[in-house]
């Protein structure tokens, strides 16, 4: 038996009983620890699995759907893109620098396993308000962790988003994504299906760090969590860089049958998933594993989450050749065992079998039955709308200063977003990043999106909106949206109100994805994001990572105004939907209706933009969302270093909207575009054909930002002042304790 029996198990009595029945005997302590990890929420998706089935996953371009290390889509000519996003919330909330860094490390391996070269990283971050010194500390160190790790690996960090809201004060959200390019013919799936293959553990040594990291991630964050700091792993981006090159080179030999990343759940998770997927078994010897510390127990070796490790299966005759590659790259390795056909995961230690358990017992956890219940709305009494601001110019300035709208330059300047010579559209210049495929007339656009306040106020529409906004963002660059991968971040699923949010979220996403015919090819669920001391859960937030395809490098669009005199066109209708808007948050008004998400409207606007860009009509395109039309226009002017003159009276709108709705409402399905004057009619015609409301609302001018209502001026600002305000807001907020 195991020497250490003090580890706290998360398994319920019912689950322990179930394990005994399935195994036909009492599991020993090592086996029990393995079951505990594999049946944790993090590894098993026991609360979410059933609902996730609702998301559409079929599509002509889908090569690999959910259930593998990453989703894979076909982008033609034999080229594939693998992409995935994952949470590293709990480690980052406790130890932001290493938590975020190892998040990046893990997601890179997920792409690498599919035999794709990682070519881009994304980060979707959520923190408390920047007035809080704790939030500043988390923010600064998370960004530095991503920068230091990502930059060293030579993979550019190209896109992302950041949101500040008090619900993330203790439990910040750190979602990291990666995409990779590869060839369809070289695709690998991480499964052991060839008995006799040699199993090799490569890379970092196995230490005591991160043991039970996943069970830690399947609990809420409380005061005791500080004691969990040893459960946060330490990364080494230099070893990662070597591992990337060595893995890709080893895969080129044709001798490698599968590669799998060691992430949450360590060896236990990687071994059981590989053999379970391949309907095989395996036998390993724990004594031969290269360890960092002396006297590690089998339990610790099997559950360690030490970083920078990969598991390879290699055909016996290829062993020499593959090992030579690892040696040349200076990577440590151990030949730990071989693939069998027993279906069992067998581990030996000191010559004795100490684990003998069916792989599928580990990977097929019992489902957890969760109850969903709509939260009671505390007060139904309606408050009358706030008055229209007397000085709209000033309100726009204040919006530009809010951390959620202000320039994120301070973040992406720290990321090497150019390495790899693929980055066509850089962070801040467009709604999505665009990466070219070297030597091809083809590129992909990618973006991460979510608005947690909208998701909180109306989980169904909020999550449908997140899908729609992500789609609009890649469309604005000229791309056709082709697939998503997602990362759900919620509170404790055992709380019926939280589970209701989750169910609504999946339903909302599913509605929009089906309507836009976009499949979901992978995802990740992070529950238990709440602060134990206050009992508050984070606002429900699902990061949507949208991938788009551009089939002509000449037709790529960014958000900057280009030339004085060009027409500014609004596509899509504005509704009175200020609930949860940045404007209402600014004036602290708690009510209002958040934006509706309607498939037909999205399709009409998206088709109009794609066709207009493909016809070469547009000189700039920007999705209209956070802050509303006023901010969308400001960003286009600031980026283009040009002014504009808009008549708000011309904006397509619902009858009942007021001027504050027009300028600040965050309605869906809207874009603002520019076009040379002679082409304006053609753009309107295209919009009409696709059923999208559209109108010319003004034109590009040389210097100032001016909005009128007919002849009456309602807002006027200097672009230089707007830029300064927008650029300085976050750096200034970071000064001081």
């Amino acid at each position: 038996m195991d020497e250490r029996s003090t580890i706290k198990l998360n398994l319920t009595q019912k689950e322990i009983k179930e394990a005994q029945i399935r195994l036909g005997r009492e599991p020993n302590e090592t086996e029990l620890g393995m079951i505990d990890v594999m049946w944790s929420e993090h590894c098993s998706y026991k609360s979410s699995r059933k609902l996730l089935q609702k998301l559409p996953k079929e599509g002509k371009k889908v090569v690999v759907g959910p259930g593998y290390d990453s989703g894979v889509v076909d982008i033609g000519d034999g080229d594939i893109v693998a992409f995935k996003v994952e949470s590293h919330n709990h480690p980052s909330a406790i130890e932001p620098y290493n938590g975020a860094a190892t998040g990046i490390g893990g997601i890179i391996r997920d792409i690498l396993c599919m035999n794709c070269r990682p070519v881009g990283l994304l980060d979707s971050l959520r923190f408390g308000n920047l007035q809080s010194s704790h939030s500043k500390w988390l923010f600064q160190n998370v960004v530095k962790g991503i920068a230091d790790y990502g930059n060293c690996t030579g993979i550019p960090t190209i896109a992302g988003e950041v949101e500040f809201d008090e619900s993330f004060e203790t439990n910040c959200l750190v979602n990291v994504g990666c995409l990779g390019f590869g060839k369809l013919k070289d695709l690998k799936l991480g499964r052991m299906d060839n008995p006799g293959d040699i199993i090799i553990l490569v890379g970092g040594s196995t230490g005591r760090d991160g043991i039970h990291g996943v069970t830690f991630a399947s609990r809420v964050i409380g005061e005791e969590s500080e004691l969990d700091r040893p459960a946060v792993q330490i990364g080494d981006p230099f070893v990662k860089k070597l591992a990337i090159e060595a893995t890709l080179e080893a895969l080129r030999t044709g001798k490698v049958t599968a590669v799998k990343d060691l992430g949450g759940g360590g060896l236990t998770c990687a071994l059981s998933e590989m053999s379970s997927k391949g309907n095989s078994g395996l036998e390993i010897d724990l004594n031969v594993i290269h360890v960092r510390e002396g006297k590690m127990t089998p339990y610790e070796i099997l559950l360690s989450e030490s970083q920078e490790r990969l598991l390879f299966t290699v055909i016996p005759e290829g062993q020499r050749k593959v090992l030579e590659i690892f040696e040349r790259w200076g990577l440590s390795y151990s030949i730990i065992g071989k693939v069998t056909h027993t279906g069992n995961l067998v581990a030996k230690y000191n010559g004795r079998i100490i684990v003998n358990i069916p792989a599928k017992l580990l990977t097929n956890s019992p489902l957890a039955v969760r109850v969903a219940k709509k939260p009671k709305i505390k007060s139904k009494k309606s408050i009358s709308r706030p008055a229209i601001p007397s000085n709209i110019s000033k309100t726009i300035f204040h919006l530009l200063q809010t951390a959620n709208i202000a320039s994120k330059d301070i973040i992406y300047r720290q990321y090497d977003h150019e390495v790899g010579v693929r980055t066509v559209l850089k962070p801040g210049d467009s709604d999505a990043a665009v990466l070219r495929l070297i030597g091809k007339n083809k590129a992909v656009a990618i973006k991460a999106d979510c608005n947690s306040v909208h998701c909180f106020l109306d989980p169904y529409n909020g999550h449908a909106s997140a899908v729609a906004e992500a789609a609009r963002n890649v469309v604005a660059t000229g791309a056709e949206p082709i697939a998503i991968t997602d990362c759900c971040n919620f509170g404790n699923p055992e709380n019926p109100n939280v589970y209701w949010q989750f169910r609504q979220a999946i339903n909302g996403m599913s509605y929009m994805l089906k309507g836009l015919k976009i499949p979901c090819v992978g995802g990740n669920v992070s529950f238990y994001n709440e602060d134990e001391t206050t009992g508050n859960a984070v606002k429900p937030s699902t990061t949507i990572v949208m991938l788009g395809l551009i089939e002509d490098l000449k037709l790529i669009t960014n958000i900057a105004l280009k030339r004085t005199g060009q027409s500014i066109i609004m596509i899509g209708k504005t509704y009175s939907e200020l609930g949860g808007s940045q404007y209402y948050r600014l004036i602290d008004f708690p009510k209002g209706k958040p934006p509706n998400a309607v498939v037909s409207r999205e399709n009409a606007s998206i088709r109009s933009i794609i066709e207009a860009i493909r016809n070469g009509y547009l000189t700039a395109a920007h999705d209209c969302s956070r802050g509303g039309i006023s901010i969308t226009l400001a960003e286009m002017a600031i980026k283009g270093n040009l002014g504009l003159k808009i008549d708000a009276k011309l904006i397509p709108r619902n009858i009942k909207v007021r001027i504050d709705d027009l300028l600040f409402s965050e309605s869906n399905a809207r874009f603002i575009v520019t076009t040379p004057k002679p082409l304006a009619r053609k753009v309107l015609r295209l919009a009409r054909k696709n059923g999208a409301p559209a109108a010319i609302i003004g034109e590009v001018s040389s210097d100032n930002y001016e909005i009128t209502w007919g002849k009456k001026r309602i807002a006027w600002n200097s672009i230089d002042q707007m830029r300064e305000t927008w650029e300085r807001a976050i750096p200034e907020a970071m000064v001081g304790p």
Partner: protein
């Protein structure tokens, strides 16, 4: 002309510069693992950017002590052209093929940004065809790029016309705002006394194709063109 791109463990701009030399400039180029590099096999060499040996100890210092650098020294003595870009520049400094030091940026952060670079001399192998005073748009991406040297060294650099590139602002002036990392005398690139060894922090390989440039320029080629000539 046959050029080598020398790869150290942790180099990460090796494939980028290789792509530009081979596919864009169509120069005969090899990617050479540092242990296999021999001076006699090549007419020119490039030390690419990245994090050689993880930047452990100090950026560039471990690579500077590798046998490959002994070979680079031989090439330098033979008058063959050598460029060190970013981490490559750090390696040339640490191996004393170029004078001075590269310290942490004044901001104390990594900076990735397109900047304006002024060509200060065309009396080098690499800038021969660029008029002095030309402003190039090229991005930087580094955490340790603040060039520093003792007063005597700076005087020598100036007197010997070894300052090849300087950071300038939009208008071509030497200003604080135009100097992203706080380099002494706004130095972005220098050459040795023999003018055949050139180190620079900006990445010309990232500015060699119009599609990648926010300015639709390909200014990096003006420098890398050197390797086309024999």
């Amino acid at each position: 002309m046959k050029t080598a791109v020398i790869q150290f463990p942790g180099s990460n701009c090796d494939l980028d510069i290789f792509h530009v030399l081979k596919d864009v400039l169509q120069i005969e180029t090899d990617l050479v693992w540092h242990t296999n590099f021999k001076a006699e096999d090549y007419d020119g060499a490039i030390l690419p950017g990245g994090f050689s040996y993880g930047d452990y100890l100090r950026a560039g210092i471990i690579a500077a002590h590798s046998p490959a650098i002994d070979q680079v020294e031989i090439m330098a003595q033979e008058g063959k052209p050598i460029i060190g870009i970013c981490n490559g520049f750090q390696i040339l400094i640490e191996s004393e093929l170029l004078p001075g030091a590269l310290l942490s940026n004044q901001t104390r952060t990594f900076i990735c940004k397109w900047v304006n670079i002024k060509v200060e001399t065309n009396n080098t192998d690499f800038t021969r065809n660029i008029s002095e005073g030309t402003i190039l748009k090229i991005p930087i991406a580094h955490a340790e790029g603040r060039y520093t040297i003792d007063p005597k060294g700076l005087k020598d650099l100036r007197e010997n016309d070894q300052i090849v590139l300087r950071y300038v602002d939009e208008n071509g002036n030497l200003t604080k705002i135009g100097n992203p990392n706080g380099s002494m005398d706004s130095i972005a690139g220098i050459c040795n006394n023999d003018r055949n060894v050139f180190g620079l922090m900006p990445h010309p390989e990232r500015a060699s194709e119009k599609i990648l440039s926010p300015f639709s320029s390909s200014d990096g080629l003006k420098i890398l063109n050197r390797f086309v000539h024999t």
